[in-house]
Symmetry: C2
Subunit: 326 residues, 2 copies
Amino acid sequence: MARESKGSLMTVRDDVRVLDATLRDGGLVNNFYFDDDFVRALYVMNVAAGVDYMEFGYRASRDIFDSDRYGKWKFSDDDDIRAVVGENCTDLKIAVMADVGRTNFKRDILPKNESPVDMIRVATYVNTLPSAIEMIEDAKKKGYETTVNVMAVSKVGREDLKHGLEILAQSGVDVIYLVDSFGAFYPEQIHRLMDDYLEIGDKFGKTIGIHAHNNQQLAFANTIEALRLGASFLDATVCGMGRGAGNCYLESLLSFLKNPKYNMIPLMKFIEKYMLELKNKEKWGFDIPYLLTGVLNSHPSAAIKFTKDGRKDYSQFYQDILDDIG
Amino acid sequence: MARESKGSLMTVRDDVRVLDATLRDGGLVNNFYFDDDFVRALYVMNVAAGVDYMEFGYRASRDIFDSDRYGKWKFSDDDDIRAVVGENCTDLKIAVMADVGRTNFKRDILPKNESPVDMIRVATYVNTLPSAIEMIEDAKKKGYETTVNVMAVSKVGREDLKHGLEILAQSGVDVIYLVDSFGAFYPEQIHRLMDDYLEIGDKFGKTIGIHAHNNQQLAFANTIEALRLGASFLDATVCGMGRGAGNCYLESLLSFLKNPKYNMIPLMKFIEKYMLELKNKEKWGFDIPYLLTGVLNSHPSAAIKFTKDGRKDYSQFYQDILDDIG
């Protein structure tokens, strides 16, 4: 492994940006039904804790998804965001995620000067990159910062992935994210992938980000490994809230970063007041079924169903996934 | 960081030994009160799963600790072990831990040919190394394999630690363990420490081990980082059971190792049948108070008390530890 650390454990890295994805990845747990009170408190906390970006949810199309079956953060309308942040006269920037094929971006993403949103995050698989690039260029033209989150790369061969990243890097996108959708990667693999992402990022002047999942209790470890090597955009969620095994814990990440602008106290207070109740109602986080799908590089959906069904026959489940991928 | 990986993610490393410390570190959760049925099933599982060593508990002195206030695995008498393992005609080796100053080793550790135990693990702080060496030499003379677990090294300066390790390495000990007692280390620090441990191990022909705690959800990440660099003895516990935030999960570790002798199915079955019940009764594992003591390099006792008291005022707790270490 050739790449050296960018700074030490004591370094303040001015390029680092923390993005709180609690509403978006956490919304996959509760179908985006968050109390307004919760969302407002999360926003206020993020501002006070020095978090750089807050992702509000998906900007999904109401033509595709039934508004009655999802909370409002599936759609993250500008007006709903504005009801929380007003004119957002803070240092915290606002992001929403737009899935390839699920967002009517031409209609639903207004020019930036008419919207409270600062950043459009385009989520794509490798095989839908051309559509992703169309969305990126649209958002850039409208004045937004943009990221592209290339999902499920643990299923893609290295050469195909590098080729895809090279194409992406020639678009107007600002940040290219390594996404460990299945929580399948070990830090050694994150290192190897970061070598590729950072090489391409350096070549084309793009920033690199990391979005990790906690199937193997490696979300935080993988995030700080990527950070050490040069990743700048770091996704995390409060109490790791997110689909299945969840994400990198924001409390771990803020306690790790040395920049004095990050502040743990507002985050601790938010957890006391809002998250404990939510944790009693909803289910996410590291557990054996997610470990097994992560180890076997499988989509967590089977583990989510297993958990929802209240099953505990882990040995049978393990055999079942082995059969599925065999 | 100079040290290269010893093998790749696909390598079977013949030097690797997995040690199940569930009874010993887990015993710190329930005062060593495990049902006989549980202990027997754990032994049978470890044999079937290909685990290399099973630690039965402490060999504490009954002169110091009241037998009525602890379960039998605080003392791990040879007869109690024999009642579980018989003559132990298996590939699994048996270990017990002996704390410096808390074991009457001259009286309570019999010659190996009169005992079912294969390995004595001596637990010490850096400032009690001379006593540890006395115990190691006694155990070696009696015919045992020996390890030394140097605790709380996150509180020791690098030069003092290296000096201590050099002294230890000149004893008859077989394995020297890096122990992250407070769950304070990041993988980068494990890397730096492993450089020192492995350098001294190479020089004196000693094997190196790792015993990690999960305060920052880094026990598994730190274990595989140490492994990658050359550590051979890897401690883990079923479901991470252990004091406070617990340990490296045995299920994560076995799923990671590539040696076909390790088998996940018996472990999954054991968890289904025995651990779920125990998890409902006892409390351990990653939680915010342990994260905070880990980040602040403090003993977990304050977090254990905070948790036991049912407190949830994390922000106040954080301030309190900051005051304590200030």
